[in-house]
């Protein structure tokens, strides 16, 4: 009796260990090639980088970069829309193979995942305020609510600059709504994201100079050297042959594939 229980316990334990190791295992290139499909995460709420397509699924700068990477690496690409703050945890858990999610580099993120050697676009952090606002920059907004998207480098920047009233929204779109509703006096985000929102009819304007320069990277699980090498090579080729520039011109109307002067 006791032996059966024991062996059952051992079997269960072994099964759990197997499941856990399966979950925790970092995906490297060989496994992705074996599956034939590369799962790529992005927020899907960050136009023009990722946004819902009217044909279904997602489209945007990040989507095109993800598809191009897959093409050059010889695998199909499955783009998954996921909440921005959960992307890194998903990579660590092995749910996503890559993220092409407009992620900037921070020391905390670098501890959790690996970054591509070079950025895939260069941009800047910009403050936006409602039309007619008297704000001249972050300093002029002391004590007033400034919005930002949760878990972003913009949130980190705002904390770093010591702003005293930070309101975190789940994404940029809620932030623009909050700006229109007068919930916040300004919103901090990527310069090109704000510029596209203004083109699309969001009533706001850039305020002050670019707060900080920003560059975004492709991220993937740590200890996946073959995947890292393949991503870096594909990215370099895309920059060299002008594909990256073409994608940038298509979605932003500017060349973000190289740092602006």
């Amino acid at each position: 009796m006791s032996t059966t229980i024991k062996s059952r316990t051992i079997k269960t334990a072994a099964l759990c260990a197997l499941l856990l190791s399966g979950l925790a295992h970092a995906t490297d290139l060989a496994q992705i090639k074996q599956k034939g499909v590369m799962t790529v995460a992005m927020s899907g709420e960050y136009p023009p980088f990722s946004q819902p397509s009217l044909k279904g699924g997602l489209e945007g700068f990040d989507v095109d970069v993800a598809n191009e990477l897959g093409k050059r690496m010889g695998v199909k690409v499955n783009v998954v829309k996921t909440e921005f703050p959960s992307i890194i945890a998903g990579i660590q858990a092995g749910i996503f193979d890559l993220a092409v999610a407009s992620q900037g580099k921070t020391p905390e993120r670098a501890k959790a995942v690996d970054f591509s050697d070079a950025p895939y676009y260069y941009d800047g952090v910009q403050l936006f305020a409602p039309l007619g606002s008297k704000a001249t920059g972050l300093a002029s907004l002391k004590g007033q609510p400034v919005g930002v998207a949760l878990g972003t480098t913009f949130e980190a920047t705002l904390k770093e600059k010591g702003h005293d009233k930070i309101v975190s929204y789940s994404g940029e779109q809620e932030g623009f709504l909050a700006l229109a509703a007068g919930r916040v006096q300004a919103f901090l985000t990527e310069k090109s994201v704000g510029a596209v929102a203004i083109q699309k009819g969001v009533k706001m304007m850039p305020v002050g100079p670019v707060v900080a320069s920003d560059a975004t990277y492709v991220t993937f699980a740590k200890n996946s050297p073959a995947l890292a090498a393949a991503v870096n090579k594909a990215l370099n080729d895309m920059r060299a042959d002008g594909t990256l520039k073409k994608i940038s011109m298509k979605w932003v109307g500017l060349d973000l594939s190289v740092p602006s002067k």
């Binding site: 959960s86 959790a112 878990g151 975190s168």
Partner: protein, 222 residues
């Protein structure tokens, strides 16, 4: 799991828990008052009162809480020019939502009080308001209690929707922590456990209340 020993993480979870409790507390009081008013109005002989009560109950029962909160938070300031703080908005939204459900609980419980009670009280010369407050409601409370307990526990968890309108209650605190520590498993497990413990305490409190309110009935049957 060692993330849960970090004092900053613990204090953030504790602050979130306090806000969740405060939100649930205000919303259940507000919901109870609104529910009482709507229940009485729906049973009223005045057709206008009845219509208002029905419209209120159907509107707030028939739309998702998430949509209601978004509307109060983003649309109301643009329509009326009144901007309430996020916490107040969430407390009002949850009260309105809970009130619609509570109204039907209260109405059902009032109907369950034997009609002889009202007739006897009227025959003794009590005014209609006295009949309601001193005869019908005390008995209806006992009948309503299990359903109100359900409602309270539901509200405790529904308060997590306030996270979408920037109220840093327990769930938003956790999401913030996940976004900086990348430890979703331990953090969401801890948050689930906190909600579970809170609802468990709530159901025990309601069990005690029910026991107390049943006392006269127990002695009567003995």
């Amino acid at each position: 799991m060692e993330i849960l020993l970090n004092p900053d993480v613990l204090s953030s979870l504790w602050q979130g828990t306090q806000i969740t409790l405060a939100l649930t507390f205000f919303a259940s009081i507000g919901g109870l008052l609104l529910g009482l008013l709507a229940a009485v109005a729906k049973s009223s002989r005045v057709i206008v009162l009845r219509a208002i009560a029905v419209a209120y109950i159907e509107l707030f029962r028939g739309t998702p809480l998430l949509v209601q909160l978004f509307f109060l938070y983003f649309a109301l300031p643009q329509l009326t020019g009144i901007t309430l703080p996020a916490f107040t908005t969430a407390a009002i939204g949850l009260s309105l939502f809970a009130g619609a459900y509570t109204a039907e609980i209260v109405r059902g419980s009032l109907n369950a009080v034997a009609s002889g009670q009202r007739e006897a009280a009227t025959a003794l010369g009590l005014k209609p308001l006295q009949v309601l407050l001193e005869v019908q409601l005390p008995q209806a409370t006992r009948i309503a209690l299990p359903a109100l307990g359900n409602q309270f526990i539901g509200l405790l968890k529904d308060s997590s929707l306030a996270s979408v309108i920037t109220v840093t209650e327990l769930l938003l605190s956790t999401r913030g922590l996940v976004s900086v520590t990348y430890q979703p498993v331990a953090l969401y497990a801890a948050t689930g456990l906190i909600y579970f413990l809170l609802s468990n305490v709530a159901s025990r409190v309601f069990a005690v209340l029910e026991h107390r309110l049943n006392r006269p009935y127990r002695t009567a049957t003995r």
